[in-house]
Amino acid sequence: MTVFAGAGLACLRGERAVFAGLGFGVAAGGVLLLRGANGSGKSSLLRCMAGLLSPVAGLLTWDDMPVGADAEAHRSRLRYLGHQDAVKSALTVAEDLTFWQRLHGARDPVAIGTALNRFGIAHLADLPARLLSAGQRRRVALARLLAAPAPLWLLDEPTNALDDDGVERFAAVVGEHRAGGGVVVLAAHGDPGVAGSILSLADYAPHSEVAP
């Protein structure tokens, strides 16, 4: 059964239409892979799904209820990870995770320990983030997904900067999230190590640029 769905979505960036008439549906435990060339609107679609960007047309639904009807409930059910890691250099890894967990209304040191272990960064817990490499920062950002659990994950190229071990760990975590009935929407260029139904943004490109 479809949990998270969209129909007739259209998005404008500046004056330019990025995509139009886009529809999708993901069942509980499903993964939706967004595919498309640079600038085809993968990130814009994810930001629309998160509610950071309002689509000019179309409807997003969760359990057949429009997500706009209760924006606060939608925000509490989703975790979004964009291109930037949102990791503050001056805070330690453990402080960072505790902070975001607290803001999501949870208080669970055990979950933080587990999250660090799952991404193999437990030994970095007390280091300030400015000493971390790009891949390690990415792991911290991903660990947030586990520190404060939520059913819907919106991930924009989550495996960027990750090494093979990181991608493997990420795939395992996503597998568990699916097993628990979670939904993942994921934009990726290369192989994110996760299988799922594919949504090709090229199919929804506006028709203004017709090939000769």
């Binding site: 998160a50 509610g51 950071l52 960007l53 979004y80 949102a86 902070f99 803001l103 209304g105």
Partner: protein, 221 residues
């Protein structure tokens, strides 16, 4: 509520570890105040007469100095996306960040102002009114400034734009802040002026974060 406190605590923690802004504001305040005796001349009567205005105008500029950075770091490292996606309203996030900004700039300015009043030879009868007026006025400066910071987020030359946008809105606070101290030094009751400063603050607490949150959402689109 716990989210609000966690945010304030993080902002204070970041400020302490990264140093800079808060200390910079105080040093700027000191230097700006010290310029006046050099510029106006060491005439005690003149200095005492203009001391209230000098203290308020420089406090206002010092607050402005640190405002530009209020949301920029969060915007640049992607934290603002995450803050906008929290279950709590973005206006509460804004209020927490503004509170932290006030604790780091407005509060130290308020505490140090009487010392500067001594330097300028202000009538001692004005000290309590000066501190009270600053306690009530500087949070309003932070709240209005936060709105300016959100509106200029991502703009080129945001600093200059911010000053143009925000300084006119600071005028009511300046007028009643100075009037309260002048009333006290003239032997009149500063109460009515302080009451108006309090009213301005009470109006700004719900209105500014709400408008700031709207401006931030616009910046994220």
């Amino acid at each position: 509520m716990s989210g609000f406190l966690a945010l304030v605590r993080r902002d204070l923690q970041l400020a302490v570890r990264q140093g800079g802004d808060a200390a910079l504001v105080l040093v700027f305040y000191l230097l700006a105040v010290l310029l006046f005796p050099f510029g106006v001349g060491p005439e005690p009567n003149i200095l005492a007469r203009i001391s209230t205005g000098v203290l308020w105008v420089t406090a206002l500029l010092a607050a402005l100095l640190s405002l530009e950075r209020l949301f920029v770091a969060e915007y640049e490292d992607g934290s603002l996306d995450q803050l906008a996606l929290l279950p709590m309203p973005l206006a509460v996030v804004v209020l927490a960040k503004t509170a932290a900004h006030w604790l780091l700039t407005g509060l130290p300015l308020t505490l140090i102002a009487p010392a500067f009043a001594v330097i300028l030879g202000m009538d001692a009868a004005g000290y309590p009114a000066l501190v009270l007026a600053l306690v009530l006025g500087t949070p309003t400066l932070s709240l209005i400034g936060g709105l300016g910071a959100a509106l200029t987020l991502g703009a080129r030359r945001a600093g200059a734009l911010l000053a143009l946008l925000v300084l006119p809105l600071y005028i009511p606070v300046l007028i009643f802040g100075v009037a309260a101290v002048d009333a006290a030094t003239a032997g009149l009751a500063p109460g009515p002026h302080l009451a108006i400063l309090g009213a301005l603050l009470l109006a700004a607490i719900p209105l500014c974060p709400w408008a700031t949150a709207a401006a931030l959402r616009q910046a994220l689109e």
